[in-house]
């Protein structure tokens, strides 16, 4: 449950006829099959966040629509939940309360929501930290809470905007592996924004490479490498070179 279709999405900021208007996205179209992991790769300013915000229901597309299982997304909600770069954990709730929040909003029965919450606390490995508050946790742990909180509502589409950008290199690499592990245990349709080619290859089944001015999908690349992916494998290196060139073209043409 969670086939994603981005159908001709355009986004223009400001009045469309005014000279000051910004075309952030033009006619973005691609599809992600159910339970696939898709990355959006591109330089900053090419409209990645804009696309994700539309998919999350925070903004409206000027034309076109983002659909999940054929239903267009208009509002934010648990079906298309978002994980934020700065985690956006509720500081007055402990780990358990943060994760159970979405289930309370869904009005899941008490016993069931506690079971679900414990399951996801276990999945991200935070059993010993259930009653800690966000300010008592490290960056990596907060990221885990954010992931568990989003997974707990059992979304059809999981959105992440550069989720590991705030972590140091070592933690980032570790959390990427963790995300793959969690996603393999509980497959979901994921749309992840990144400007890191390695992150995109490491995580994804497919990569939408975006170019700027105006933001559009230049190429939709499938990644058919077995997981876990080895940076030294020939196909990995070949794919990396290809992506780098796609992105570099964009840089040169600016």
């Amino acid at each position: 449950m969670g086939r994603l279709a981005v159908n001709g999405v355009s986004k223009i900021y400001g009045e469309s006829d005014a000279s000051s208007s910004v075309v952030a996205l033009r006619d973005v179209t691609f599809e992600v099959p159910d339970n696939h992991f898709c990355s959006i790769l591109g330089h900053s300013g090419c409209g990645k966040t804009t696309l994700l915000n539309i998919a999350a229901g925070f903004e409206r597309a000027t034309t076109g629509a983002v659909m999940v299982d054929g239903v267009s997304i208009d509002l934010p909600g648990w079906r298309n939940t978002m994980i934020f770069q700065d985690y956006a954990l509720f500081p007055w709730m402990n780990v358990f309360q943060n994760i159970v929040f979405g289930l309370e909003m869904k009005e899941v029965a008490r016993k069931e929501r506690e079971d679900i919450t414990r399951h996801y606390i276990g999945l991200v490995g935070l059993e010993a930290f259930e009653t800690k508050f966000p300010h008592q946790l490290s960056g990596g742990m907060r990221q885990r809470v954010a992931i568990a909180r989003a997974l707990a509502v059992q979304p059809q589409l999981l959105l992440m905007d550069e989720p590991f950008a705030a972590l140091d290199a070592q933690n980032r690499s570790f959390m990427q592996d963790e995300l793959v592990r969690i996603w393999q245990r509980e497959p979901k349709t994921v749309l992840l924004v990144t400007h890191s080619i390695d992150e995109a290859i490491k995580l994804s089944d497919c990569i939408a490479v975006m170019t700027s001015r105006p933001g559009s999908v230049k190429e939709f690349v499938r990644v058919d490498l077995p997981r876990p992916r080895d940076e030294d494998d020939a196909p990995y290196i070949a794919l990396k070179r290809k992506l780098r060139e796609l992105i570099r073209d964009d840089f040169v043409s600016r």
Partner: protein
């Protein structure tokens, strides 16, 4: 499972657990000195506890040197110097010892307590009414329309000092509790309102997005995210409000009451009881400070996360 931070250190007394962060924020490091671990429920030996408290007081003593000197000078002036110039003038400035004796008498007779309770009751009633500033402030901070409509009204009323309402309020309510409470209400209301609005507007918009993205409907969003997120600022508003209200209370009681701390000091004036006046003034100051300290401590205890975020 233990929700408290691991590095709690030791407690000075098992009946008064001290939050680790709070201790850092309030004490000069004395309480962080490790004391032997006490089993829950086992009282540490009284001798040891007594020695610690004594040491604490001795170490704090240097801070009170000026105060003690001033009291000594005051005592000398009132008892020796002024009477030597003009014995009749001495009544205008009673000595600290005289004041202490008067205070003891007023405490024992229950007079001070009676008037204190009268004042506190007015403050409490006024606060209950003024608490409606919290929902109003949330509405104004949340809905632009509510803000745009209500703000002009508030901006006109807010700069009018509560005391300026005294003549009109006497005509409206007569002299009595309602009139007093109305003046106090005006003092409490606006600080709470303004701080609530600021608190709501300052909530991290990402938290609101996160809650919506987890499926929170508007009503639950307001209660669980907006209200709680603004709570530290609301409590600041309550502190300021109760302080302003307490000042307004005394002024209101000076004019139109036959009980309360403000009444005591005005009543004593007509009988030239300067000692009673000063006892009343001190009581007003001490109680005002106590209210403020209590709310601050309550806020710290209930909202440890807000303290942690501020650091």
């Amino acid at each position: 499972m233990d929700a408290e931070p691991i590095d709690k250190g030791a407690k000075t007394s098992p009946s008064r657990p001290v939050d680790a962060r709070q201790r850092v924020a309030t004490m000069s490091g004395l309480e962080t000195a490790p004391v032997e671990k006490t089993e829950p429920g086992v009282v540490p030996s009284f001798g040891k506890w007594f020695r610690q408290q004594l040491l604490r007081i001795l170490l704090l003593l240097p801070n009170f040197i000026l105060l003690i000197v001033l009291l000594a000078v005051w005592q000398f002036a009132s008892k020796v110097w002024i009477p030597s110039i003009d014995p009749y003038m001495a009544v205008l400035m009673p000595a600290p010892t005289t004041i202490a004796v008067t205070a003891a008498g007023m405490i024992v007779s229950g007079e001070l307590f009676y008037h204190l309770m009268a004042s506190l009751k007015r403050e409490a009633v006024a606060f209950l009414f003024a608490a409606c500033a919290i929902p109003l402030g949330i509405a104004m901070g949340w809905w632009r329309l509510a803000y745009n409509q209500v703000n002009p009204v508030m901006e006109i009323l807010r700069p009018i000092p509560p005391l300026a309402w005294i003549p009109l309020s006497i005509l409206w309510f007569g002299i009595g509790d309602e009139q007093n409470e109305f003046i106090i209400f005006l003092g409490i209301f606006f600080p709470i309102l303004i701080n609530t609005i600021v608190g709501v507007k300052n909530i991290d918009p990402l938290l609101i997005r996160a809650a919506r993205s987890l499926g929170a409907p508007e009503r639950k969003l307001l209660v669980r995210i907006v209200f709680i997120g603004a709570l530290p600022q609301i409590i600041t508003g309550v502190r300021i409000g109760l302080g302003v209200g307490w000042m307004a209370l005394v002024a209101a009681e000076l004019v139109g009451a036959n009980s309360g701390l403000g009444f005591i000091i005005n009543d004593a004036r007509s009988m030239l009881r300067t000692d009673t006046i000063i006892v009343g003034m001190l009581a007003i100051g001490i109680v005002g400070l106590s209210i403020d300290t209590a709310i601050l401590a309550l806020g710290r205890r209930l909202l440890p996360w807000s303290l942690a975020m501020r650091k």
